[in-house]
Symmetry: C3
Subunit: 570 residues, 3 copies
């Protein structure tokens, strides 16, 4: 029906506005990030209202060319591009609207070249004040108050957070990084986006993989269990420096993304899988602190290091676990996925670092938090409730996340309580069994496209190796040492392979950063089959009846609305 | 449709009987409390049958005025009021039926004044034997055996327990204490009910709050960690005496409620939230035993104290946990709510008391029970399964229950195993993190109406304070002592504030005990939209065809049934 | 509709093929046993393809009598019977098809007498190679490639595993051993099947019960806590020998079943309840090794014993837990049932044996695996998620499984860590509470029909008794010893009662092995209401339009399809 109508669209492209309004209200409420919205309310509320108002008149009147362009861009691009004076963006706005909402897909590639301004919708907001100056003009038109309810969803599609259910509905794949065929996205699929928009938070996974290797090689060099190998500490140092430099590079890049594309970062934060990667930077820092070469930091680390690195983790803990427990739609039974382990493992890593700086009780505190939530995540993931839609049917590297948390818990318990006792062993053996459970599956690392996120799946292997070395210190026998050695070898090999792949993808094939489609999903479902066609037809009818100013498009729409109605009623 | 039909009702109000019978069978089965029903079967079964029989003839014949009145009251009031010779109740029975079932709401306030007899439906049963004497008379009418299936639901609406799903369907709010707008209740909303009916089991929460304070101040006075404060033991004594006197008062009142309004007590027992408060009296007793001032009980307590106080808890454990695990509809994934912690915390408190009386192994037994079920409740609540409907979207004081159980578990483990080891610390830190997690939420204690149940939400804070004092004994440093002190201060402040509010509500505003709507929900859904209109129409048709005695009402019903059918088939 | 159409069926019975194809695709995918299918792919894939091809032409043409017979038998009996030259089977194939698929039920009992060949469908495959020789002939027909999607489900109904959801849909009862009334089964209900087909995997439960008794009587004879009883070690020896001989007998019988009816064994393996009994043989062996009389094996056992007995358990662990965690439809929240405990308890038993042979670390490894999965199973079962359909409403002996795992975990922790510490006691007391929780339910062992599976419900009682003896060793007092004694007595009594019942059922009434209906369910739902009639009608239309060769049946089907469509559209 959507498609049928677009065929009847006149070439001026204006009637796409109609399509926008036909989108029915979705049931999903955006209750998330309530705190944030509360804080921003004073400015945002006014901002929303202004945009809704500014949007309507053009759709009803369809008179002034200038207004039309403005309205189009406000609704799609949240009103940023209209103010940067980008003439190109202004000209091509309407065709792109057709691309995004009408469902034409890659209809005309020619125009895609000229759509630079689109990416502005993910830009950091900085020009809201200027828009407000246009408010009085629109207020006078006076006929827009009727349609607030119909239009409030789409216009502020960027301002409000995308609900968690929307990500599950629009995306697919174990990492929720592929857009479903039925979905349209806000940005053009067929051209390369700006680099910063294509730079996902998952890149911190590279640092996770490298910094954990630094710890591994430090342990191999210094542990009594592997002393017979005579590993030079130089390896630790070089990997550590490499990890540090990569961390600096990635951090700077992502900071730039935060600075320029804060909206895109926010969308990553609301992504049920990606949000867990926001724990990664702090975890990497702690990994680097734990694996610091003895020549760089000979003595104990200062507790301040721990405080600085733990602060973001504790903040995110309170935020994320609070979302699970209370309020909103991000209930754990819905958002749980293997990468949720990442949001738990930080506590155990913090506990290890706490033991290193000598704050045992702080470590025990973190271990307790981590353990309580690990328990919940573990049970939830093992149950594979029907509500957790993200869990892949096939095995996938993301499942290696299962190994990381018990292994880290085991090391942490041994470190903070000073003995590798029953509980530490239990955690270690659970990690070991899950490791076995994954490597006996043949199709583990096959048939999946390489992505930066793969790096995150190496640090569990490394953590398991380190835990095995700790275990081999306690139970020094051939089997434990052999296991420690082989696991270390496996993880190092995997990291090397990934390093080479990453370099090849980055510099040879230049495909390391494809368009990050996951952040560009529409806030509400566009195209495809509508859920409530009756309501839709009704809305259109009311719309056409109440607006005396829309003559041509109104009649045309009346027809299509009737057809909709007929189709529905039959 | 329901409403439409009531308009066509003749003014004599008799056709309300028809409405009653049109209510379709709900899918929810009342399998709960099977044991109890079994025990009562010999008397109850006969009783049910008798009432069904006694009920039908009047609805079919509509001849004898006397019989009509009897049938009406039997169906609504379970046949108690008819026998106490209350003439007023007899006269006003029919109009009240209109109020409850016809959906008129507060149509005529004048009549509400005369409905004293209504409250009798929650009275303790004592006159069942006399009713049975009417049995032979009814058996002879002979036409009622056909309609047992259609009528067995409503007539014994009090005799059988209200199913758990009904509470979730009819009530709302985190404490399931508000009746949904679409629901009608059995008792008049617009007048004050008898005091005992308005006295909820949640009043034991007051004792919980006070008696835990007694323990806290005993610990503050005697613990080496807080010895520097020089707290006089007199505070412990005075709070303890206050708590004891409140407990005595509340116990006496609730015992009176049990004596006079056993049906209301039963309804509280089947309430998914309230049932947990049935653990409270024993917990309060144990709190008082634990916090007994040294001047009153200088030596160790006698194990008999523990036995007496634990018996109800173990009995309820077997009952409640058995319901979760096996049989019936009260599956944990459905009834789990934060106040379920109350049903777990009793075991840990029992373990602490067991340690105090010297029965370590009994304490370990209780701790194990408590821990196993705490684990299940904790995971279930954290997952927030879509089936657990009671969980509030917004944060609510009831969430403080999350703190109580791990804190009590920590104290108990330390007491029964003699050392505050890794497990005790883990539990303690989990409690501490959950505490933090709650206090960082801004809207924690705002925007909620005061109710007696709030008291129950203070004892978790007190328990956490006591656990912190125990921790500060183990790890005596500024931070731990400061934490213990500030948490104690917070909990005492909260209790003081609540004490003042309660006194104000009780004696100044006299609004401490509003009508306890939650216990007066109808056993089956009345009014609103029906779920199975086809079945309904069919049932009515069959009814009209099979009963040759119902002429006038039969034809009227045939019409409405046809209309139902048409509405459905279109 | 299905039924209506069968009335229009011409008497030659051929149009049943049409019925077969009208069965809509079920949503449940058969992703299980992926590994196995992969291994078999080279031969199976070709085999499937061949059968699909070989199947279609006949359905379209309906010309050659010979082909018809072949196609029929391939689709129902997976092509085994057609090659063993069983003329009887060939003749009766079509009527039996009517019985199985047309929904006639037990229409004509006369024919049931001649259906000897039916049992062959569960025979071990051995003749797949010969069938492939027919492949080229069918490939030439050339019109079948269109319909692969429609037919691939039914034809290989035995080759592919029955999906887990199918078992839940077709079977009922807590052991999923009764066929629902609406279901038809592949084998005749009204005659006795071959003994091996009636011999379920649950028979190993007999060995479980007896071998655990051997351990109990060894513990009673040797434990310091029960030394005062002066139990002669002869009892241990005699029970042990009895258990060993029963194990040998059962093993041989089941090995024969594996050899002759591998397909039936596979169906037991895919049965959500029965799969757990595949752990039983190894557990029995380990029980026998643990309870070996001192006179037979005076010293420590050799670790090789442990390796041999543990190998199948670890293999099954990896398989079963992997299914829970990843891939396929056998998600834990769906397949969890009390007998899942059986798949966990093996690890703890293995840990006990590991402690006995001196491999403590291996024991700790097993304990960790067991504990992690016990946790998940325990929480899942306690929650009673709406998805786990197998959980019985009423209490049932199968609930005794709840006791086994914590009791075994307690013994194992005590054995491998050398002390019966807090964790061991917690596990033990959890088992004890669950035991109490079950015995206070009155209807525990009443109203259920005896079956061999009951034996499996005795070993939890025995395990609890042994754990109590271990506990009484640690806490030697009257209560603990009395508890140990009474629990031992109860479990021995229960085993004696069951032994007598079993002997009576086996030799007196000869009803020990009824027809094992659970393995003979159809792979897809037959008869009853169809789920997707629209899709069905559409498929048939497409089918009739695209195949120019099907004239007569095409027109007949067009009619029925139109009728379907009308029915749906109205």
């Amino acid at each position: 029906m959507e498609m049928k109508e677009t065929k009847r669209t006149p070439p001026n492209g204006l009637s796409h506005f109609v399509d926008i309004h036909e989108v029915p209200e979705e049931e999903e409420e955006e209750e998330e990030d309530k705190d944030e919205r509360k804080r921003n309310k004073p400015t945002k509320a006014a901002d929303h209202k202004e945009k809704r108002m500014s949007n309507k008149p053009m759709k009803l009147h369809e008179v002034k060319r200038q207004n039309q362009n403005f309205g189009r861009q406000v609704s799609l691009e949240t009103g940023f591009s209209v103010l940067n004076g980008d003439k190109k963006g202004r000209k091509t706005a309407l065709p792109r609207s057709g691309n995004s909402f009408g469902g034409f897909g890659s209809a005309d590639r020619r125009e895609a070249e000229t759509r630079k301004g689109d990416f502005n919708m993910f830009r950091t907001k900085s020009s809201l004040v200027k828009q407000n100056s246009l408010l009085p003009f629109r207020k006078e038109s006076g006929i827009d108050s009727h349609y607030n309810d119909a239009s409030c969803g789409l216009d502020d599609s960027i301002n409000k957070s995308v609900p968690a259910g929307r990500y599950f509905a629009a995306l697919t794949g174990p990492e929720l990084d592929q857009v479903k065929d039925s979905e349209d996205i806000l940005l053009p699929k067929d051209k390369k986006w700006p680099f910063l928009l294509r730079f996902p938070i998952g890149c911190f996974g590279i640092c996770l993989g490298l910094s954990s290797q630094a710890i591994l090689w430090r342990a191999l060099a210094s542990s009594p269990a592997t002393r017979f190998l005579h590993i030079p500490p130089l390896i630790n140092l070089s990997i550590w420096l490499l990890a540090l430099s990569v961390l600096v590079a990635v951090s700077i890049t992502y900071t730039l993304k935060c600075a320029f594309y804060l909206e895109a970062v926010k969308r990553e934060y609301f992504h049920p899988v990606r949000v867990n990667f926001f724990f990664a930077p702090s975890v990497v820092c702690m990994f680097l602190a734990i694996g610091v070469p003895p020549c760089i930091a000979p003595g104990n680390l200062h507790p301040a290091v721990w405080c600085v690195f733990m602060a973001p983790i504790v903040f995110l803990d309170l935020k994320v676990y609070g979302q699970w427990l209370s309020g909103g739609k991000r209930r754990l039974c819905k958002v749980a996925n293997p990468s949720s382990h990442l949001s738990v493992v930080g506590n155990f890593v913090g506990a290890i670092l706490a033991a290193k700086v000598g704050w045992m009780e702080a470590g025990k505190f973190l271990w307790a938090i981590g353990f309580a939530h690990y328990l919940v995540v573990f049970v939830t993931l093992y149950q594979r409730l029907p509500t957790s839609e993200a869990l892949p049917k096939e095995l996938h590297p993301v499942y290696s996340m299962f190994i990381a948390t018990p292994a880290a818990a085991s090391i942490a318990w041994g470190a903070i309580y000073g003995e590798f006792d029953g509980l530490a062993r239990t955690c270690f053996f659970i990690a070991l069994f899950l490791y076995c459970s994954l490597i006996v599956r043949i199709n583990f690392f096959r048939g999946f496209q390489f992505s930066v996120a793969w790096w995150s799946y190496t640090f569990p292997m490394t953590t398991a190796s380190i835990a095995t070395i700790k275990y081999a210190e306690q139970v020094p026998c051939v089997i434990s040492k052999g296991l420690a050695l082989s696991l270390s070898l496996m993880s190092s090999t995997m990291v090397s392979v990934l390093l080479v792949s990453t370099l090849l993808h980055a510099f040879w094939w230049q495909t390391l950063f494809p368009n990050d489609l996951a952040i560009a999903i529409t806030k509400r479902r566009q195209g495809g089959k509508e859920k409530k066609p009756i309501k839709k037809a009704y809305d259109i009818r009311r719309w056409t009846k109440q607006s005396p100013l829309s003559l041509v498009s109104g009649i045309r729409k009346q027809n299509s609305a009737d057809k909709d109605g007929d189709e529905v009623e039959n």
